[in-house]
Amino acid sequence: MSLRLLSVDSSDRGSQRCRLGPGLMSALGLGLGSPLLVSVPGGSCLCTAWPRADLAEGFLQMDLKCSSPNLIFYPPSQLCLDPGQLTPVPCPKLKHVKITVVVQSVDFKKHTPPRLVHELVKDMLKGVYVHNKHVINLMDFDTEIRYVVIESIDLESSSAGLITSKTGLEITGIQTVRHYWSQLQGHHTVPVGGLDEVSASLREMLQLPLLYPATLNSLGVSCPRGVLLQGPPGVGKTLLVRKVVGEVGASLVVVRGPEVVGSRPGESEEKLRAVFERARSAAEEGPCVLFLDELDSLCPKRTGSSAPENRLVAQLLTLMDGMNQSDRFLIIGATNRPDSLDPALRRPGRFDREVIIGAPTLQQREAILSVLSARMPVSPSVDMAELAQRTTGYVGADLSALCREAAMHAIRENSKSSGEQVVGMQHFQEALKAVGPSCLRGSLGRTELCPLSWDQIGGLDEVKLKLKQSIEWPMLYPEAFVRLGLCRPRGVLLYGPPGCAKTTLVKAAAGSTHCAFLSVGGADLYSPYVGDSEKALAQLFRQARACAPCILFLDEIDSLIGSRSNNQTPNSVQTRLLSVLLNEMDGIGLKTLERRGTEKILQAEGAEENSTQKQLECQEVCNKEVMVVAATNRPDCLDSALLRPGRLTHIVCLQARLCILRVCTQSMPVCADVCLEELAAKTELYSGADLENLCKEAALLALQEENMEASTIKHTYFLRSLGHMRPSLTAQQIQSYQKHPR
């Protein structure tokens, strides 16, 4: 027979009673008010047994006056219990108990004399059965004293006992409810993947002053008290802080920018002071973190004369300076726009440390994915390493969106055919199409591509090989590149006569690798404002680097970017764009904010170094740079600086006509008498586009002649349409391309 657990009657609340059927009571050998330990999932509860008023069997109602700490947060409900989970426990009278008192407010703790707390608690606990390490809920008294934690009781034989008026109480500490809860909830932390180093350093900053206060004092230094976390949106700054706080068991005071700002003058400053005061009082009970999320909104650069924000910034600065040695709380600020912070905030003494969390690297992504998918039923066919490789530029938030989307796909599919709920690789692939990296959202050159395979381009085997070498190989065989000391080329310039599949080649290259693809033309960049185009180009490179490896395609580069040598106006937009491009391709280094992954942080605990060295190198080869692919049919118009070795590798595109004809006629029902070799021989100086046009004309001619009933295209049609056409290239052009452009 099982017992159904019902919620407790309101009249029984706070009475520590457990109502059960009289039959069960006599079976367990219980009298009225005998102590009884009820074990439920997640903890246990000590009650006194009473028969139900209606004497019905099969139900159980218990008041959680004395229960395991877990049950306070997650009270058991809708449970069926086995009678074996009820055990009578002997409860002798206690002589001595050690307790911790949990009170509601800090004020009460500060202003109430210990004698009074002792007196009140003693009154409240009289006649209560207590269990070692349990929490006594005193909410029903409706005073400031909320809980009492039983730290230890003086009995060896039994773990439970009865408190009488003769029991000696020793209060070992008084905590506030907020602190007690945060301590308890520390055990339920959220898993975070890939941020181990940063979280270790944050934990160290929190724990060092608490564990070794004497050491720090003897060294005469103060531990850093301010950390500024910066990184692009979605890398997990907020989550990281919550995790570390949970692990250390510190209490967390969160300030969100808009909450602090008030409408009346002086109100915002007042609220900010109140927050610091709250953190200070919380720090008296244990480690505490004051977390300023979205710091840029709270503390922008001070401009102008008397903007109201200036006063808020000044208040924050003075509050941070006003923290003295005894205030043992850590301030963590998080922002994704560190440039817009007030510079005064970033000096040592305020935010001592700046931790940059970049977009996750390959290994970090793998770690994040494995954490995210840990609770999903993922089929064994899913290769997290491959998924991590394909998600370059994705931050933690993107990856979690990806997993969610994959799960949604799995649900949709399984609802059709009722199978087991398993998320497979195909679902992830579907999700990859829908979820893009957030750093590319709203980007200038984001383009939708229809995937194109290399085989769909006729001829050009040499060019294809070169493109593969520079784009695919570094991603696929990073070890080989490291072994031979190779580095990836920075860019490729495709040049050739018009209509020789330059753009199509780039499309295929982008499709065959899984890297991000950005394409810009002149229309995207030009703007009537001075300096705007350059800014847009620099921004484009920044975004491309954020999701590297990335292919940046500049079509018709000759019109986009001028040449300095033969230009009449030396300061035109084109030349300025050229200088931006040269800088971005060959710049002295990256900005600190664009760093990938996290920096190495020195820690008191030494970290292992060399084992990961090799892996990091390999990763660098894949992740390093943005690949610039430019296409032009006028290479002579380009600036010599752009063409020097090391910047753009030149690839000339001159196609074999026979191959083009083969590819073009593949989908056409060509008559058996068609001799492509002959056509190829007759079409000298025809470009790829010309040849495609030729095939089209021949097909149209066939339709015209045979009145829509044509089923094949005869050789004569090809020859006749060839008669109408003229090649678009000249021999001179071809020669000029075959020469080296410089």
Binding site: G14, W50, H111, T112, D142, T143
Partner: protein, 202 residues
């Protein structure tokens, strides 16, 4: 064999309920005595607040020497008197609470002594005129808990008062009043009604 034990337990319960009835009356009368005292406490707090808000040197009363100190002393003295009276009332409330507690624990003790003889069937047996022993013991526990809670809450209100915090003093009458729970008092009256026949049936 369980008959004499049950009878003596019944006797103890009867005594206990009678005692509860008397004590309940004492308790209520004590509370009615307390409420004007609390009101005057609030008045005194209000006067002290008014005194600290005014600058006597700016008023026609400035010629009187040390007026502010004297007034403050007088107010504090009368606050002290009121608090002393409240304290006396509190100790009578405490004695009521203790007497109920002692009675209840005596009954529980008597039951525990005879717990082996009195099986659950006996203690849960009800009749038309008398509730079962377990019900009555439960009600006694409830009543005892009620008095303990009430006493503790009122004591906390008084103990948390501080001379330097006028707002606490001002809000004390309101908080005192909010502690009255008519439903709990009704509950005890209900209980006494339920056991009326049982008490009479000697």
């Amino acid at each position: 064999m369980s008959k004499p034990a049950l009878l003596s337990l019944h006797q103890a319960l009867r005594k206990c309920f009678q005692n509860l009835e008397n004590n309940q009356k004492v308790w209520e009368s004590m509370l009615t005595e307390c409420s004007p005292l609390m009101v005057s406490l609030g008045n005194l707090a209000e006067q002290s607040r008014a005194l600290s808000n005014i600058q006597i040197s700016n008023t026609p009363l400035k010629d009187f020497p040390d007026l502010e100190e004297r007034l403050r002393f007088k107010l504090q003295l009368s606050t002290d008197t009121v608090l002393g009276k409240l304290n006396e009332n509190m100790s009578s409330l405490q004695s009521v609470r203790d007497s109920i507690s002692n009675q209840v624990s005596a009954v529980v003790h008597l039951y525990e002594q005879n717990a082996d003889i009195l099986d659950l069937l006996t203690v849960t047996e009800r009749s038309a005129t008398g509730p079962s022993v377990s019900d009555m013991m439960g009600w006694l526990h409830d009543a005892e808990r009620h008095f303990r809670q009430q006493f503790l809450r009122r004591k906390t209100v008084l103990q948390s008062l501080r001379p330097d915090d006028l707002s606490l003093l001002e809000s004390a009458p309101k908080r005192w009043k909010s502690l009255e729970s008519p439903s709990a008092g009704d509950h005890i009256r209900d209980t006494l009604c339920k056991v009326h026949f049982f008490i009479e049936s000697q």
